[in-house]
């Protein structure tokens, strides 16, 4: 158990009590704390809601002719990864460790492990609840990637890609960082709520995918403008809302660590949104609405790994800094490269996750979370190095494996729709539907 637990005392006490009251107990699940369970159940629901939220955020940014396409991609990913997770994904990520690299298939199918807590991961909630909370992370991660492949990837190939990617990229990396026995976890790497596991893997893989797929045919033509800004803002609102489950839920208890994560999450998002607003105001003369929402998302992504380890002042710095870096990265991508990471997944999530993970090495403090670590400012010299290692390993692994998967799929089934289908739009050609009639 990774978290500060003032409740350990109660758990211990309850144990004694249970000995005395054993006759009245139905079974031994009494370690389950109803408050913690309630909180993680809700958090899992909130994170689930984020995936349609990503769909709305992305859906508003694309053109009308591809709106159904990206929305249904995000929705379908829930179903695909939800099944994969129950079948074997959870077991690969959190099952009994094999060589620090991957979990064993012992828990495939999720039978017989649900009711009791797994104290290795979360001592006060039924393992079923932990499984579901983690499922939602596995789901949203590939749903982030589709922002890079939108408007041109075949739906069939995308489905296969998502299943392969979850299995070969997400599950192993989740095991390395969070799985009991994972080599990065053993090395002391910290990732509170998925800056490395979620945002770095998604962002770097998105970059790889954008490169392998190539640009949209009309990329650069200047007509790639959001078709529905209210939908973008709604999506941003849903994401902000759900992110409290994402980050504060990662405390896995309803305690002061969760409270801290909630607070710094909100604060970093605020700082990043305002920073982005000011940059765009100065740079382009007007505060860009889509930009303000983008800034908030960057702030949320960036604070994610650090949310359980840093305090309010650090959150402000992290959020503001992330917005600057992400803004500059998008600007350079647009002006200096031909890469068509269409909705800037790399700049938002790849860089955000990276900055947040490294920021732990600077700002983390055991005063905030005794189960965390001390960063540079708190006199901990080694943590930053470990974080660099974890981020670098994840970058390289995600980038290389994503390219390999896509190259294989390209050979087997093709990655892109035809030029004509791309012109007409994916809604009609992939799904036989129109967004609005």
């Amino acid at each position: 158990m990774q978290k500060l637990s003032g409740r350990r005392s109660i758990a211990f006490f309850s144990a004694i009590v249970l000995l005395a009251t054993n006759a009245f107990a139905d079974n031994a699940v009494s370690k389950v704390d109803s408050g913690d369970t309630a909180w993680v159940l809700v958090s899992a629901a909130l994170v689930l809601f984020m995936t349609p939220g990503v769909g709305l955020f992305y859906g508003g940014l694309v053109r009308r002719k591809n709106a159904v396409s990206i929305l249904i991609q995000s929705f379908t990913i829930i179903a695909l990864v939800g099944l994969q997770w129950a079948a074997f994904g959870y077991s690969l990520a959190f099952g009994p460790d094999i060589a620090g690299l991957i979990g064993g298939l012992n828990w495939a199918g999720l039978t017989g492990i649900l009711s009791d807590p797994n104290p290795v991961y979360a001592a006060t909630i039924p393992q079923s609840v932990f499984i579901m909370f983690q499922a939602m992370f596995a789901i949203i991660t590939p749903a982030l990637i589709i922002g890079a492949t939108t408007d041109r990837m075949k739906f069939s190939t995308l489905c296969i890609f998502v299943l392969l990617w979850s299995t070969i990229v997400y599950d192993p990396v989740a095991h390395w960082v969070w799985g009991s026995g994972g080599w990065l976890k053993n090395a002391g790497a910290l990732d509170f709520a998925g800056g490395i596991v979620v945002h770095v893997t998604a962002g770097v893989s998105a970059l790889a995918a954008a490169i392998v797929l190539g640009r949209r045919r009309d990329h650069g033509a200047g007509n790639l403008v959001p078709h529905n800004v209210p939908m973008v803002i709604l999506g941003g609102g849903v994401l902000w809302f759900g992110w409290f489950g994402f980050n504060a839920g990662s405390a896995l208890e309803a305690n002061a660590i969760a409270g801290n994560a909630f607070l710094v999450t909100n604060t970093a998002a605020c700082a990043a949104a305002i920073t982005w607003m000011l940059i765009s105001w100065i740079h382009m003369g007007k505060p860009n609405a889509v930009g303000i929402v983008t800034g908030a998302v960057v702030g949320l992504a960036t604070i994610t790994p650090a949310a359980g380890y840093v305090g309010v002042p650090a959150a402000v710095i992290i959020g503001a800094f992330a917005s600057v870096v992400s803004y500059v990265a998008m600007y350079l991508k647009n002006t200096r490269t031909k890469i068509d990471d269409s909705l800037d997944v790399f700049a938002c999530h790849g860089l955000g996750g990276t900055i947040g993970a490294l920021a732990i090495g600077i700002f983390a403090s055991k005063a905030i979370n005794p189960a965390g670590g001390d960063g540079l400012l708190a006199g901990g010299a080694s943590l930053l190095g470990t974080q660099v290692l974890a981020v670098a390993a994840t970058w390289i692994y995600s980038f290389v494996v994503t390219i390999v998967i896509l190259k294989v799929l390209d050979a087997l089934m093709g990655l892109r729709v035809s030029a004509e289908e791309e012109e007409i739009g994916l809604d009609l050609t992939q799904h036989g539907e129109k967004a609005y009639t």
């Binding site: 403008v225 740079h283 382009m284 860009n288 889509v290 983008t294 998008m330 647009n334």
Partner: protein, 112 residues
């Protein structure tokens, strides 16, 4: 009969509509169109980029009038639609050979 097609600024539409009614031309049909002319277009921004949109939203007001009413209708429109800035729009006049009122089958000027 002539058909007058006036492409105007959307923000001027309400004024034009009212002016035409006051001048005795209640019957109009309007379209939401996009147009490009001498006007440079507007600059929109998206995240870190600006881009020009050269097709601007315009309203096209169309009315068929008797030959003798053409000038009056033209003047009415020009008076209120004009701001003096590029992008005020254009008016075209086309010949109409026949007009029919669907409800009654009336034809010609009396159908207007």
């Amino acid at each position: 009969m002539k058909k007058i097609e006036a492409i105007i600024r959307p923000e001027k539409f309400d004024e034009v509509k009212n002016a035409l009614a006051d001048a005795g031309f209640p019957g109009i049909t309007t379209y939401e169109v996009k147009g490009r002319g001498r006007q440079k277009g507007i600059t929109l921004s998206y995240r870190t980029s600006e881009y020009r949109v050269d097709m601007l939203s315009k309203v096209k007001v169309e009315l068929t009038v008797r030959d003798e009413d053409v000038e009056k209708a033209l003047e009415t429109i020009i008076k209120v639609a004009k701001t003096g800035n590029i992008g005020d729009g254009k008016i075209f006049v086309l010949p109409v050979e026949e007009a029919i009122r669907v409800r009654t089958g009336e034809r010609g000027d009396s159908a207007l």
